[in-house]
Point group: C2
Chain length 454, copies 2
Amino acid sequence: MSSQPNDLLSQMRSEALKIFHASLEPINPYEAVRRSVRLDGTRLILGQGDQQKVELDLEEYERIFLVGGGKATAPMARAMEGLLGDRIHKGVINVKYGFTEKLSFTEIIEADHPLPDQNGVEGTKKILDILNSAGDKDLIFSLISGGGSALLPHPAGQISLAEKQAVTRSLLECGASIGEINSIRKHISDTKGGQMARAAFPATTVNLMLSDVVGDRMDVIASGPFVPDTSMFKESWQIIERYGLGDSIPDSVREHLKSGTENKIPDTPKDGDPIFGPVSNFIIGSNILALAAARDEAEQMGYNSLILSSMIEGETRDVARVHTGIAMEVLKTGMPLNPPACIISGGETTVTIQGRGMGGRNQEFCLAAAVYITELPPQVVILSGGTDGNDGPTDAAGGIVDPLTVKRGRDRGLDVSEYLAENDSYHFLEKTGDLLMTGPTNTNVMDVRIVLVR
Amino acid sequence: MSSQPNDLLSQMRSEALKIFHASLEPINPYEAVRRSVRLDGTRLILGQGDQQKVELDLEEYERIFLVGGGKATAPMARAMEGLLGDRIHKGVINVKYGFTEKLSFTEIIEADHPLPDQNGVEGTKKILDILNSAGDKDLIFSLISGGGSALLPHPAGQISLAEKQAVTRSLLECGASIGEINSIRKHISDTKGGQMARAAFPATTVNLMLSDVVGDRMDVIASGPFVPDTSMFKESWQIIERYGLGDSIPDSVREHLKSGTENKIPDTPKDGDPIFGPVSNFIIGSNILALAAARDEAEQMGYNSLILSSMIEGETRDVARVHTGIAMEVLKTGMPLNPPACIISGGETTVTIQGRGMGGRNQEFCLAAAVYITELPPQVVILSGGTDGNDGPTDAAGGIVDPLTVKRGRDRGLDVSEYLAENDSYHFLEKTGDLLMTGPTNTNVMDVRIVLVR
């Protein structure tokens, strides 16, 4: 019997799934730590690939501490415990509720995310106590991953957690940019914008980060607790005034920002500050690593492969349309790659929500793409998935679609344009069997998109 | 003296301009015809590259006719006259006002575009007369380019031009899709949807097209006068009813569509209809040809080059953001190409107009891109231009920007976000010296975008 189009599509769908799962391997938090930190006797070698290497002799330090915050921090800590064992003098990490593991030398504190709670504050206090207690003969390992900003909360001065959140809400409502909001958040916190490095000084500090931000800017990942800040108290106050919030923000916030503006309290530490001398920052996992693993897997399967970029942002449907435009060119002229072709991209897109349906940016990407590829031959498969296995407020990681997806929906009485208008990608893809389900992956380096064309 | 960043940028800007101009060469309408049609004695060889070749012996035909419509048709006709000379028995082409040339054997009729006028109708009548008069011993050359749909108007039955336009307007206002509108336009016309092929039958017909549509679908270019149609009278009437226009459309239109639905007049000719037997359709120029020429030029300059796709559509700013995301990855990891890199794309994006400024999709692409690349080093140049030299209702073809564009505007007191909000890309880029000015190019294969990274 000759091969039917559906046979080819189901083979390609399996391949896309395999490529997606391959992309998760290098960003597994445990593996990422093990790959980046090697122990040779008592010598610890840090850094991988092109990164600058740092070597430390554990024997030279009196005490070793382990701290951290983020959704993927528990497996990262497990990897560090595997390397350091009972050399760890004390350890505290903050993780999201449920994202815990059994550890031997490290206290795990579960706290709320994305909105911080009092548990998070208590855990952060313990971490700051450790950092403040460390001296120049001590060594601190810090583990940071996505969610670290909300999971390492510690409002500055007299500010309460509720007051801190009220400020962020007001700024969001009056249309402040994410850069403006982050500038203020760093200045009403005791941890963000390099302030954990100040607490840790003069101890030797190694900060290992799993990046969940586009472009991997270290001052943005978890608001850069160990990284020089570029924003100033003065600017923060100007932002408050620009949006006419001078009178409405809580007294504690106003007084803190005023004190900072008048130089009564130190600003966040800047580049060149000697407190960063003993600090080494390493990104041990990021979106591009996931994309490179996807590419390697696709090439092993015989696909000509291309990584577009790990920094793709923009409105999801339009980004999907660009991807399908590339798939069409592959089919028509063999550009940018001859088929069988695999186009890979990463980053994080935006969905401007206009309906009341359920979905996430990866599912919306797939549903929009499904519409654009409806008239293509059954030789195209498109997958988009969150590397954390969790797309929006759903139990899906994303979707996987082909040129027959819209027809499968129509055969079940579903009008794809209605589902798109309602941002209800989940329920459409659920009924057509096109959801990508992985369960939690315990990591997060944003999204991976895979376009296969045969 | 050492090289300054601005020296590098101005060199890169010249390179981008040179690459853009190189992209225009293969789509010059005169050259495109000369490349696709060769004369060897009395033998005419049609087709280029991978296209199926057709050979004709001019001696075998009694009469040769030349017809056509579109903005670039005059130089195409000049090329045909150069080949055929006084072998042309009669010729009539419709062009846009001002897009004329001195021809010897072909009558040029100037008419309005994008809204058709009575001149266009009169010219089309003459063309239909020629087609209807041609017999099986005659040879017809047809020349079609962008604008051909509006420049070959001939309402069917008793429908007037004004009534035909009123229907299109009503459909646009009630949100009909472009596919639905085209289906109806084909069924209230005597030329569209393969109907000129019906008029030309049984003459041998060669239709040469310069494609201005994404994907080069021959039934879409100028509404496919010589190409099988896929839409039906019945569907057209259903569309009218779907939007509740059954009572409001002009009587002449209602009666024509009803007659068609009741099979009292023939439907547009479909694939397999013997009238298409003597017809050969050739696309002699399209966006991908322009992109390939751009790539060749960039590679000659030493750029590693990549054609993303000639079929890029979507909201302009988001498409721009995808392009800048790729530029960032080139700088950061050398993917998808190591620098010096040239990323090339084509197609036609959309601008959802929200302000009252002046611009076009290419200028808006550049202004949005300029914002996204503001923090990049001065090693990136982005050009976007309409191949017709005319972007929106402006005298510019598009723009050419770099990481200093936003700063140049700020130094002149311009707030880029205000200009973007007003869709006023023209006036921002005019003041920063970042407009792309080419003058009319006499061709049109949509847009070309060039991203250079060093």
